[in-house]
Symmetry: C2
Amino acid sequence: MTTREQIIEAADLLFYHQGYAHTSFSHIADAVKISRGNFYYHFKTKDAILDAVITSRLVFTKGLLKQWEDASTTPTERILSFVHILITNQDKIIRYGCPVGTLNAELAKIDHPFQPAANKLFMLFRTWLKKQFIQLGCNEKADDYALHLLARSQGVASLANSFKDKKFIAREIDFMGEWLKQCCEKEALN
Amino acid sequence: MTTREQIIEAADLLFYHQGYAHTSFSHIADAVKISRGNFYYHFKTKDAILDAVITSRLVFTKGLLKQWEDASTTPTERILSFVHILITNQDKIIRYGCPVGTLNAELAKIDHPFQPAANKLFMLFRTWLKKQFIQLGCNEKADDYALHLLARSQGVASLANSFKDKKFIAREIDFMGEWLKQCCEKEALN
DNA sequence: GTCTATACGCCGATAGAC
DNA sequence: GTCTATCGGCGTATAGAC
């Protein structure tokens, strides 16, 4: 792995764990075990690292969605794959929150020029979920439902992070499963 | 209003608008129009201001809940009062997110000793909502429903902040109203 | 209570040797 | 490509005059 890739990986993790504002060049340089001076050979500004981290996360997320796409045959199963990241990543979520949500919130708060770029991460999930709901037959409401499920997941991540409660996550996943079932039944009537 | 109170008010606003980490003594001193030196007469450390701000928000929130309690006669109406802050404060939420959620997220991320104190704000809403659901007749599920509604609100605030979308907020409020109606009907059957 | 002056460290960023 | 040395600015925090 090149030094540049190592920097992006370390910055990605530190931005998630400590937040963007709180992470300094020294933190990243220490993590990669290079000097601060060398650091500037690879990235001129802090924003340049953020840009690279967001791009890297976008690539990773596209791969993840593709993987869910290939692993399941029905849209319901695919939507449940999305919901289940709350379980898979529950320890990290309880400790650091949702990586997408917390980055967006932080950048929005300081009015950072890259907030729209970070929002593309949400957009990936939104359009992917919308596609699944269209396949379920909810044509006009597909985008509304996609945003709804995204919001529910964000809310669960946010409260799980504040209350440090795993049982709450499990309960909410059940609620989301019931809601999804209701959606399917409603569509079956039409 | 005393200088101390002015400082707390200015810090409260700045912590909400810019975040805790990003707000410096200079920012607050400028807002109150006092010198940095004078500042330290009132608060020795930055954490001391945070402590005062959290206490102030707790007092304000208790007053708000009491107000909702007095203004409505049915638990359903009271719960809807809670839901409607998303509309009342929608401009601020779109710009800065939820003041409770974003503070909790920020403090959790830097592992700040006052994160549990900030979580008391969520706890106020949780126990108040639980009380309303008990009055609705959902005894065993009251706390689950309280956390559920809190999570839904957090999710809406989070995505509204990222996508800057008012129509989304209105739609989700409708969904929450439907959900609440379903809760009532379910209890009426028992 | 309020001010100015000041200490000291960490920040992002640059210059230049190897 | 990697390093050390260094800059100017801002951060928290203190001392002491008024």
